[in-house]
Symmetry: none
Subunit: 426 residues, 2 copies
């Protein structure tokens, strides 16, 4: 069953508004077992809308169209549908009731303009809008059933789930397929490397569609499975997931697509551990990421953003002699920062960064992209040095921050799960 999505409106076309409706509709249609093959956007223009409706009528079986059902003069989707189908517009009694009910329920006077919303193409069927003034409608144009919905996300979503999907099942009841999506988040391998690892799995599981998505600096592996039998489809997808997780091992963050900060938060919480951070070059990004997770106050105690050397010395207790001898961007300094953050806060772990995010501040020995990190555990303190260079201050900050969080993630897995590392994910 081929489906297309059309959103109408000058705001979306001009980019003033990002079209989030189409993504939502695509997910719902895919979950209902339809195959979405195209999204389109056109402006509030009679010719543009009617000609794309005619195109879709030749290609698709089901189309969901949003926008342009309001009371104002630039709302012309119904007229465009009538024009595409070669029919007249006429007053629809059901639609009029929907509009009148809307105003009655809210004890508001109906603006005469709103009566326009009850004018629908002849031969179409009104779709009740339980939460807004604009009724939708469904009609067949070409070989395709078109569902016309308002563009307001809240109204559109309610009508899509409560009215459109049941109607699609009615129309094509017999042939529904199940479809499931899985998202495995990874860190530490390039997109090309992840791809190479999963190539044999793609060959092995022919019935599953694989895709990679870079959410810098994480790489997410997406698996889509479809089938007539639900149990069989779930089982196949689970097997493919397990195979990929085995291949990627340590680099897998989460089989549920969770981000680094969510995974680190869960590991800390599950192990009754707390963390304190000392950030220099990352400038607060590690703390910001950790505290974006609701409930992070359970394990995140303190962070010192010690940009100046003075604050490294005064707040974290880094030795002046160390900075003088080795500089701020140095493993020894980073180790002392981590120890200081841990000590000052009483946290289980102390994590630190000191590096050069750029674009200025690099030297021959320590070019932009150099970063030193410290990880203080209850037993020891470790130092690390990395070299990245994404030629962009914010990307460097991001890769530094996620790499630092990866140190604590691996530490937590290794110390609490012993050698059974891959077991942490399955």
């Amino acid at each position: 069953m081929i489906a297309e999505i059309l959103s109408t409106g000058d705001e979306v076309l001009s980019g003033a508004l990002i079209d989030s409706n189409s993504a939502y509709i695509a997910q719902v249609l895919e979950e209902a077992g339809l195959e979405v093959v195209r999204h389109s956007t056109v402006g509030d223009d009679l010719d543009a809308i009617s000609s794309i409706i005619k195109e879709i009528g030749v290609r698709a079986d089901i189309a969901v169209v949003t926008g342009g059902l309001g009371p104002t003069t630039d709302d012309i989707t119904a007229a465009a549908a009538a024009y595409a189908a070669g029919v007249e517009m006429c007053l629809d009694e059901d639609a009029l009731k929907t509009v009148e009910n809307f105003f009655e329920k809210r004890k508001r006077l109906m603006n005469p303009l709103n009566k326009k919303q009850a004018m629908l193409p002849k031969g179409s069927e009104c779709l009740d809008n339980p939460v807004g003034s604009a009724p939708g409608f469904v009609m067949k144009i070409g070989k395709c059933y078109f569902f016309f919905l308002p563009g307001v996300p809240y109204e559109m979503k309610k009508m899509l789930l409560e009215t459109v999907i049941p109607r699609i099942y009615e129309i094509y009841g017999g042939i529904r397929e199940y479809s499931i999506i899985k998202n495995i988040s990874t860190f530490g391998l390039t997109e090309a490397a992840v791809n190479e690892h999963i190539l044999p799995v793609i060959d092995e599981f022919g019935g599953i569609k694989f895709g990679l998505r870079a959410t810098f600096p994480e790489i997410h592996v997406k698996l889509y499975a479809r089938g007539k039998d639900q149990n069989q489809t779930v089982k196949l997808l689970d097997e493919a997931c397990a195979t990929i997780i085995k291949k990627l091992g340590y680099n897998v963050l989460s089989p549920e697509g969770e981000s680094m900060e969510v995974v680190v938060g869960k590991l800390l919480k599950n192990n009754n551990a707390t963390i304190a951070v000392a950030e220099s070059c990352t400038g607060g990004l590690i703390s910001d990421m950790l505290t974006n997770v609701s409930g992070s106050s359970d394990y995140f105690l303190f962070s010192g953003i010690t940009y100046s050397n003075d604050s490294k010395i005064n707040v974290l207790g880094v030795l002046e002699a160390t900075i003088q001898r080795f500089g701020a961007v140095n493993e020894e300094t980073a180790k002392q920062m981590a120890i200081g953050a841990r000590k000052i806060s009483g946290a289980t772990y102390g994590l630190s960064t000191s590096g050069i995010a750029g674009p200025m501040g690099g030297t021959e020995n320590k070019p932009v992209g150099t970063v030193c990190m410290g990880l203080a555990t209850p037993d020891e303190v470790k130092g690390f040095t990395f070299n990245f260079n994404f030629l962009n201050r914010m990307m460097n900050k991001k890769i530094f921050a996620v790499t630092a969080l990866d140190l604590i993630r691996k530490e937590l897995i290794a110390s609490h799960n012993g050698a059974a590392l891959s077991g942490a994910y399955v």
Copy 2:
């Protein structure tokens, strides 16, 4: 000049990813004077991509296509373009250099898979990608010039502005009108309020196109003027800008569209002042924003992210009695935090936040969205309380952070520029 936008990729098609690229591209193309008439999305499918390319080749003069230029097997946009144009794929020396340079600069080994990225349709011309491994390309198919760009937003935006737009001007140079864009960033008024303020200006300056763009929580006013005479166009736009700045007064951050953190950084630098921050509910976001600006080490000294009460007491010297009596979310506590951050670092100003970002942690007296702030200056310390609620932890954190930075912005303008506030912008 008719333009279309095509985004490719299963993630966008399936709705796993919201397509924000197309909105951005639409704005840039419109600003360059093109008429965008349609956006489309298709999946990673050779037939789907090549057939829509052929359709667009009949309809449009310029098309921007994003996605599918990566090194992996599902990246097939170049092959689809070749198929649509009826040409072979061949190794492009310029493209190969781009890919090799990318890895060389980063001192990373090139994966053999990446060589695939240098295979381009015969007759196409490589477009250098200064920030990623995937080169783009331009080729004429049908009557339309297609610009193929990577889907990674950062790379796409850079290439669109630096390479594609100048090339479009080259191609259609003869009929070009002079066009200029101004972007005034504002904070503190709703979109509707900004709109109301500028309505009379829109009437006064009929030849200029106005638009509002919400970059939460900032509202940007965009002015777009076109004309055959450069001097006249510039003059008209400058006049309109000055009128708007006068209307919006204090709420104008920058007539150059600069963000809050850039504006605060400049004000600190120009006044030889430094800042230290004490963050609780904002969790590092203020520091992260400030340090996203290159050169921020000149004025940003220290931030203490004191999530726990212990760290507020131990690091910042907040009195235990104050927290016991008033709680952490309180103006008195916030004032002591600001004083502590200033003292510990020797900064000119200390700024603090303590509040409830949610979704948990709210009470009847202090619901989610409540935030107290402190601002310690060389002369005094001020306390503030605000109530926001965007029903979303990250949006609350963001509005808290930008509101806090706005306190220091206004303080700097008032104390250093005296009463001549509007003069700060013109």
